[in-house]
Symmetry: C2
Subunit: 352 residues, 2 copies
DNA sequence: CTGAAAGCGCTTACAG
DNA sequence: CTGAAAGCGCTTACAG
């Protein structure tokens, strides 16, 4: 360990023959500096290739930056949001040192009202930036607009509101993940195979679902493979309803060789397959590394899970906001997560 | 943004009725403090649940921590090491602010002598921590021992030297990735299929290769699927040699339905397949998201690439060393990267 | 429009 | 064994 060579505002001030405070004004583009002085200082800054010492900056300013996070709470229904939360907290731990604080607001995925209530609380908390899971489209739109009016940068996570003002979207490329799922199906398809696309959800997120299914279908039209694609929209998520409706489909279409579940409820189909006693288990592809899914992945009933590193999404959303707020780092409008393929063989090493 | 409530050594000093310097001595366990004073101060530290401000600490000390990195240079043969280097540089950019410097030492993968020479230079550079790609086993062993004697923490990246002292290993789980490759093959295998395992390399890294191939074979024995597995060890890496030897194999074994290349040279097999005019293209699986491979992935000749996020390996190695040296964060002995499956359909979103 | 000075929470000589 | 003081590179009132 050796000593740093010294530098900084002091050196700039000396060379420009001005006070440090003036240099500071120029660096931060604050008013109250004559154009001439400003130019002189900027020239020196460029010459020196000056990089401000953020450590010193944050220490001296003593400000705390607060980030507000509005995401679903973990419920008995799904532990999906555990992962983003973990990532958010990991990020917070790393940057707490540097004066960043995270305030969490949870809403209930089954209750749009809770979203609105928490969104209002967040708005009043006077945070400096926002991470938002826009699960309820209309409500989220309103909230995003409010954020924009309050000039708070806002990052969408896990799903997007296209055409909505936001600093960035961090989440999966939906269409392409459906496209990939289709490709994976082809490894088991034969001449007279049929495909079954299943969506099991009480309501909403129709946007997400549509994108995925369109990607799925497009693969086959792109490759002129015209297997019949059957759809099952199951709105009651309890197992007996799911089982009943699946049974109907399989009775009507015995040659279903692949099942694609376009959200995280593949486990429900797996459970059905486990007990249905079909002559041949169809390929089963679903989404998300939630515990119920991974169990069936391990037991071989689910063949592929398509995943998008939700923990990293959470981590990245916080870090992006931090970099933007503190260092003014430019932010990509869309940050697409990779489309991960998780199987029984690689699941132990998967980092969700 | 609101003001932090104030705290710190000053408050401790006030309460203990001592000078700040004394508090500092206790915090850092430095000698020259009476037991009585030490206890008094420690008690107050505990009461206050005092957390030192690293920002201020690093700023005041003005020390620079230097990390030495010893990895292969990018050659015409392969651009694999571009990715870890990118990750290393990204990490450096993020923590340069905090007084960390990275010094790079490159060696030539074709020349063990260059490894030794650079290792010696690194040893003399008096760095505080080391990242090492132990490509040459014996030479790397010696170097690792020297690092240990010099009490420099050392992280292995991309491949491991088991039973060698190191702070951590960051890299792929080799056996398991071979196991996964085998599973992927099964989707195209039929009754009389044969498998071809190819290794194209001038020499060494036999350890890596063996682990992978063992994983590959174990899958089939685990599942009692006894397809004939043919091996091709190709030691001349120029295309005509590769093509000739592959042609021999395919002539002798027309029912090869899957080819597994256990290192990053699948592109060479792809090129062969492109011109060989086989009656049916076998499934082709290889390793690593290098540019030649991704081209053949896009054109459909390579079906799956197994990848281990080399950029992240580089990034993580630096960050781990940083956290360890600056914050004394505990470090996991082995950090296995996930086993990523990259196909034509998800390659655009892959983050190498 | 500009500058002198105090201070952020620590570390580091130096003096006693 | 202990303390007073300067300083790390910035920011922030405040004065002019």
């Amino acid at each position: 360990m050796k000593k740093k060579e010294l530098q900084g505002v002091k050196e700039i001030a000396r060379r420009a023959n001005v006070a440090i405070a003036t240099v500071d004004r120029v660096i931060h583009n604050r008013p109250g500096v004559s154009e001439k002085t400003r130019e002189k200082i900027n020239k020196i800054i460029a010459e020196l290739n000056y990089q401000p010492n953020l450590l010193a900056s944050r220490l001296a300013s003593g400000k705390i930056i607060t980030l507000g996070v509005l995401i679903p709470s973990v419920t008995e229904e799904t532990d999906f949001w555990e992962a983003p939360l973990r990532g958010i907290q990991r990020a917070e731990n790393e940057i707490r040192q540097y004066g960043i604080k995270v305030e969490l607001f949870f809403f209930d995925l089954r209750d749009p009202g809770s979203f609105v209530a928490q969104a209002n609380r967040l708005l009043e908390a006077s945070v400096d930036g926002i991470v938002l899971a826009p699960a309820f489209i209309d409500e989220a739109r309103k909230f995003a607009t409010a954020c924009q009016q309050a000039r708070k940068p806002c990052i969408f996570i896990d799903s997007n509101l296209p055409d909505q003002p936001s600093l960035s979207y961090i989440g999966p490329p939906l269409f392409q993940s459906g496209y990939l799922a289709a490709k994976l199906c082809t490894y088991v398809l034969r001449d007279h195979s049929k495909l079954l696309v299943v969506n099991i959800a009480t309501a909403m997120d129709s946007y997400t679902y549509k994108e995925i299914e369109e990607g799925f279908r497009t693969y086959f039209t792109d490759h002129r493979q015209h297997y019949p694609i059957i759809r099952a929209d199951i709105h009651q998520t309890d197992f007996s309803s799911v089982a009943r409706q699946l049974q109907e489909q399989f009775d009507a279409n015995p040659s279903i060789d692949a099942v694609f579940v376009s959200n995280s409820r593949a486990f429900s189909v797996a459970r059905f397959l486990e007990s249905a006693g079909l002559p041949r288990k169809p390929l089963l592809i679903g989404y998300d590394f939630v515990s119920e899914n991974t169990r069936y992945l391990a037991s071989g009933l689910i063949d592929f899970l398509i995943c998008h590193q939700p923990e990293d999404q959470g981590y990245r959303s916080i870090m992006t906001l931090y970099q933007f707020l503190v260092f003014s780092t430019p932010v990509a409008k869309d940050y697409y997560m990779p489309i991960d393929i998780v199987t029984r063989e690689n699941q132990t090493f998967y980092r969700n």
